[in-house]
Amino acid sequence: MKKIINTPEGFITEMLEGIYAAHPDQVNYVENDLHCLVSVKKVPGKVGIATGGGSGHLPLFLGYVGEGMLDGCSIGDVFQSPSAEQMLAVTKAIDSGAGVLYIYGNYGGDILNFDMAAEMADFEEDIRVESVVAGDDVASGAPVKPGAKNTRRGVAGIFFVYKCAGAAAAKLLDLDNVKRVAEKVCENVRTMGVALTPCTVPRVGHPSFELADDELEIGMGIHGEPGIRRGKLIPADTIVDEMLNQIIDDLPYEKGDEVAVLVNGLGATPLEEQYVMFRRINQVLSEKGIKIFHTYVGEYATSMEMAGASISLLKLDDELKELLAAPADTPFFKQFQY
């Protein structure tokens, strides 16, 4: 296990100390608990947006707390949910009377704790809480049927949910409308990932799975959950085609649609390779007559030092375009109005 850490046990606490020390003008913590992170700026009358989840995915989740995006985030240990109490602490701190929206990924542990927290916020604090659960990973379950439970995992596509819901809240839309926007993004975003190497949870000390030197796994989740198929390393264009076609067929994205694209590095895969992937994405989408409104490339949701990448598409309408293009200023994501 080759990591720049002190001890596996202190890893997350020390990381959080680093984050607060590095960004004192943007984030702070409440109730004396480093795991309860909030924006230093609180806007009266604005819907508060909270997220949360396990560590090990920076800039997910806490990195998107700031102007134009999220208001707070509770942080768990590596790949582990924060506790309901921590979520409640964040909820109390960010509520400014307009209610709080939880946006988080579709994982059992997170659901149980956010549900517990929402109950507590309602009963103990009289704060109205709504929840939107992102499940964008095409590789992780059957297509979502209207009304049915979504069994898919939430992965990098949640960035788009944060961005659009955050912009909606910044416009002082009410809780129902911010929730509506978040749900609209969830319905229109799809993601698929590929892994080339595993990552190691510090406290476990060895990689969570093995991949041979010439192997990759299409569809692997951001905690190393099994994907769709394991196979020999193939050229970048072939990887992209396989992933993108499954994404496109799933929604489906169609000729004439306008989309935002996110190419996301899982940790060890260089930006150079992510751009090689985007080159192909751009070719395929233009062949299919799908127009790219805006492109994001970089590390948006990682698995520590895992090598690999994911592709997300978000189908846009005028409302989402406007919200996506709005400015944002967080420790990890900054965007000028475009």
Binding site: Q86, G109, G141, V204, S208
Partner: protein
């Protein structure tokens, strides 16, 4: 009759059992999940035990509730939160009791089961912790009604939990990470059910030890 002090010892014994089975649970969870179960159960029961060890409290319900709260704060993983929900539900059900007869012991595990079920919304057969505990609760209830000695009932309950665990092989996972595997999940044993198995083994060991000491 079990007292508040016995609950403290049971919690401590469960913490030891989970600690001892750390690698076993990690291994089980690694096939289907994220390999954390050995860590979370070890830490979670240790925190629960520690939280009540020094408490000057004779109310078994309050102790169980406090143990659950500590568990939920310490290990908010799926199983951590479910075990917390179980203990907290026990707390609500047994609030005010300072002693447990054999019937109350059965109620203890029934409340634990119900707490987990209402939080996780799973059904028996969904390949979860519930499948491990279900049969054991039935045995405890039946044996208490029949007036069988607790040590014997606990031993039979542990065997039922072990069977319940083994029977998760073949079930289709409906919850958690395993559900993502679809049909592939059938071949695997459910790690959460293994925790139910360990809980009942631990309880049976505790009762056996206590019986020996008394006799």
């Amino acid at each position: 009759m079990l007292q508040a002090s016995d609950l403290k010892q049971i919690m401590q014994h469960w913490a030891e059992v989970m600690g001892r089975n750390r690698d076993y649970l990690i291994e089980l969870d690694s096939h289907v999940g994220d390999s954390d179960l050995g860590l979370t159960m070890g830490d979670g029961f240790a925190a629960a035990s520690k939280a009540i060890a020094e408490m000057d409290e004779t109310d078994i319900g309050k102790l169980a509730y406090s143990a659950g709260k500590a568990m939920s704060t310490a290990v908010p993983s799926t199983m951590g939160t479910l075990m917390a929900s179980g203990l907290m539900a026990v707390g609500k059900a047994l609030k005010g009791k300072t002693e447990m007869d054999d019937q109350t012991v059965a109620d203890f595990f029934q409340a634990y089961f119900d707490g987990v079920q209402s939080r996780g919304k799973a059904q028996v057969g969904d390949k979860t912790f519930l499948d491990g505990l279900y049969g054991a609760v039935g045995v405890l209830k039946a044996d208490a009604a029949d007036g069988k000695p607790l040590a014997e009932a606990a031993k039979r309950a542990a065997a039922a939990a072990h069977d319940g665990f083994l029977n998760t092989r073949g079930m289709l996972a409906q919850h958690g990470r395993a559900a993502g595997r679809g049909e592939q999940s059938r071949d695997l044993l459910d790690p959460g059910a293994a925790v139910a198995d360990l809980l009942m083994q631990g309880f049976s060991e505790f009762v056996a030890g206590k019986t020996e000491t008394v006799e």
